[in-house]
Symmetry: C2
Subunit: 237 residues, 2 copies
DNA sequence: TTTGTTACGATGTGATCACATATCATTGAT
DNA sequence: ATCAATGATATGTGATCACATCGTAACAAA
């Protein structure tokens, strides 16, 4: 394990599943993207192309494509040294992203309130059910974030605004790693105090076609999470 | 000129300046990005990597990087056939982008109204001056779009919200090619009826620190342009 | 012990080669 | 004459090689 142990322990990289469908570049992109969103790498940690190649079992080319794409989306960062790392999140950046997300996802919620199908609302009920259930488990919390993301995007998809949806996905991709990093078990306990309630209010807003209520519920949900990030995760600036 | 004349005339590609600074991939990206934003390629037109290589004088690698990045940003599109083309714009897509842009750029204008420096406002005056002057010229209109873009982004930069600014740039990149394609000389004549006035109102809003007035002026500016796009450029859907 | 130099290793970038596949034109049969 | 089969060409993708550059550690001099 020559120079591997810079900061990136070997066990973390080996959790990267080999790949499955599409072009190799696309597969590596999907794997790496998901790996970043569930907090597989810490903010500020540097990664190298050759580490990824050994982890994915491919050559440099697909890895290069995936990394460059992630960098273009803001999920990775290429330093002037040409080194690659997970971006660091500052407090100012967190606050700005919260502001933008409230606007973007608020619009999505309002549109969804007017268009969402009742069958989809029932899916939301189930998702929030499993979310509350998953919240009480003590093990790895990646599944919790997964369910939470699925809940939110089930609403956002109902807005039927593909451009807006793409931007929102990009925001989640950029802030995803820090959610997992900042919010550990302590964060989850604190989250359990408001998240399920906010979700219930969002479901109620969807059922009543109440756009304003939906936006308010979303604001308390996002605001609570960001509040925790600023308090628990000691961010620079 | 074997199979070059698919749809892409040789003279169009030769307008791509060789490159200048940074890594080759970055240079090709900048050149190609600018080439797309000034309407160098028509929507729906297909391009090939090897065409770009001969136009840029490099090998496949830098071109691949640039194209993949543009594709990740939505400025290019990779079909299931793995062919590369400039995305086609539908009416529904135009309308959604207008809605999202009004929200994004509206927020930027409001923030800018509270933070913009008086020296920057004077820059806006000058930019709008040259904009009006450029509007009366009959030659190639790429400079007109350039000045218009600079005017808008001078305001958006004053908002001091880098994340928001990045999203807005992405929207402009996606809709840029269609502006040039849809709005020809006819579009320019129609634009001259409202654009300078909207700009003046935006400047007045900045000077008076009036966020609401700024958003309204922006709305008439964007709305006017989109109106023209929907009317003049015969879009599918 | 500290500082400046040097040499080695590793990394990102670019070029070239190889290949599966899509596109299109030619050819052949009905 | 129309349509299907087939062959050739071109294109995107992946692998491998080569190289300039950066980081780091070993080493020497003070």
């Amino acid at each position: 394990m020559q120079n591997l142990g810079i900061n990136l322990h070997h066990s973390a990289l080996s959790r990267l599943n080999p790949v499955e469908s599409g072009t190799l570049g696309k597969r590596v992109y999907d794997e790496l993207r998901n790996f970043l969103m569930v907090g597989g790498v810490q903010p500020g940690e540097k990664i190298t192309l050759r580490q990824l190649t050994s982890a994915c079992g491919t050559s440099l080319m697909p890895v290069r494509e995936a990394v460059q794409r992630l960098a273009a989306e803001g999920a990775l960062e290429v330093l002037p040294n040409r080194a690659i790392r997970v971006p660091v999140m500052t407090k100012a950046r967190v606050k700005e992203i919260l502001k933008v997300r409230l606007m973007l996802e608020g619009m999505a919620v309002e549109e969804a309130a007017a268009r969402i199908q009742v069958s989809v609302i029932e899916q939301l009920e189930e998702l929030n059910e499993t979310f509350s259930k998953e919240m009480r488990r003590r093990d790895d919390s990646s599944r919790l974030f997964q369910v939470n993301k699925e809940f939110h995007f089930t609403i956002y998809r109902a807005a039927e605004m593909p451009v807006l949806l793409g931007i929102i996905e990009n925001m989640w991709l950029q802030i995803g790693p820090f959610l997992h990093f900042s919010l550990g078990v302590r964060g989850r306990e604190a989250t359990s105090q408001f998240a399920p309630d906010s979700h219930k209010r969002m479901i109620r807003a969807m059922r009543q076609r109440n756009a304003v209520m939906g936006r308010k519920a979303l604001a308390s949900d996002l605001g609570g999470a960001v509040e925790l990030m600023l308090r628990l995760g000691n961010l620079p600036d």
